[in-house]
Symmetry: C2
């Protein structure tokens, strides 16, 4: 796996979760120990939107598709990382994204100041509706961001609807702190779970 | 992802689990719905040895390493699939494996009759200690099998100890029903979880 950069958050009891909500924190349950059982075995209870994960349309769209209709080709392939981390604003919009040229079928990952936060920042950087609309019009197939929510407190969740409603998958919870702007090959391997609205994933990038 | 064969079990409420144990069955908890909350969100409670997963040494060795010391290179690379599925016996042993030539650093996946079971079979095919010893001596780096346990009711778990005790990772719960014997490239991407003894994974094979 030489030259691949791991952009996945580590799932641990202290992982940063959206708005520090208790129910979003993973629970580790030890069910057998060497002392008592001669082996060690544990379970993990995980909100499917904790850590690095892919949103399925069903997450925000009432009759949206679940993981049953998800295909790996939707989130693997060429990925362009744009660097918003030095931008003074918190809002990734059309004006910022227009400076880039994407090709239909590209994935776009947005690196922001969030990748450097050590604890949950309520003023996190996010993608607004104009930015989502512009990415949709470029024909990108997936959009990723280093935020635990791709938008922030937006009534009606327009960013989610613009993307998921047009077959564009959303990847949240990336760690892009070690990734420079540029073109990459993306390897995105979610768990294979039936009928759900979110898929935890392992995601790697390799420079082109 | 053309030409890649998915060898991962699908995690669902009805997934086959080891000895049909209730505590091994995944639990899906819906925590928000479109009707009540305007979006859909759920959690998954998963035994880390349910479905397709990698055993860390800690699973069977008291002071064994956890996922904190796991590296992706240990389970990615060249993989040789051997076909035991037509063999009359249930026990994969040295005599069977000796017919193959593996190179140091290869991974070996053992396809058995288990891949065609529709429910848990208490007489499942497994790898015995002589087979594990032989694979260890060939210098393979990981051993996978389409069983939910790589050995069967063996006092002291010798197969686990021979492999995990020598830095050879064990992959259990493969679905090899669609894979023929031969040489493959293996892509094995586990969730990134801190400090645990088992890692659920997405695993694909591509013919060489």
């Amino acid at each position: 796996m030489e030259n691949w950069i791991d952009v996945t958050m580590t799932i641990s009891p202290s992982i940063m979760v959206y708005k520090n909500k208790e129910e979003k924190k993973p629970k580790f349950i030890v069910r057998a120990t060497h002392e008592e059982n001669g082996h060690h075995e544990s379970s993990l209870c995980l909100d499917l939107h904790t850590g690095t994960h892919i949103d399925m349309p069903k997450h925000m769209i009432k009759d949206g598709k679940t993981s049953d209709e998800f295909e790996l080709s939707s989130v693997n392939g060429t990925c362009f990382v744009v660097d918003f981390s030095k931008h003074p604003s918190h809002e990734v919009d059309e004006a910022f994204l227009k400076a880039y040229e994407f090709s239909p079928g590209d994935m776009v990952f947005i690196k922001t100041k969030n990748s450097f936060d050590q604890q949950f920042n309520y003023d996190y950087d996010y993608l607004n509706a104009s930015g989502a609309e512009w990415l949709k019009n470029q024909g990108v197939k997936a959009v990723g961001i280093d935020a635990l929510g791709i938008e922030r407190n937006a009534p009606g969740h327009p960013t989610h609807h613009i993307l998921l409603g047009n077959g564009i998958y959303i990847i949240e919870g990336l760690d892009l702190s070690k990734v420079d702007e540029g073109r990459y090959e993306c390897l995105c391997m979610p768990l294979k779970i039936a009928g759900v609205e979110g898929l935890p994933a392992r995601i790697l990038l390799k420079p082109y």
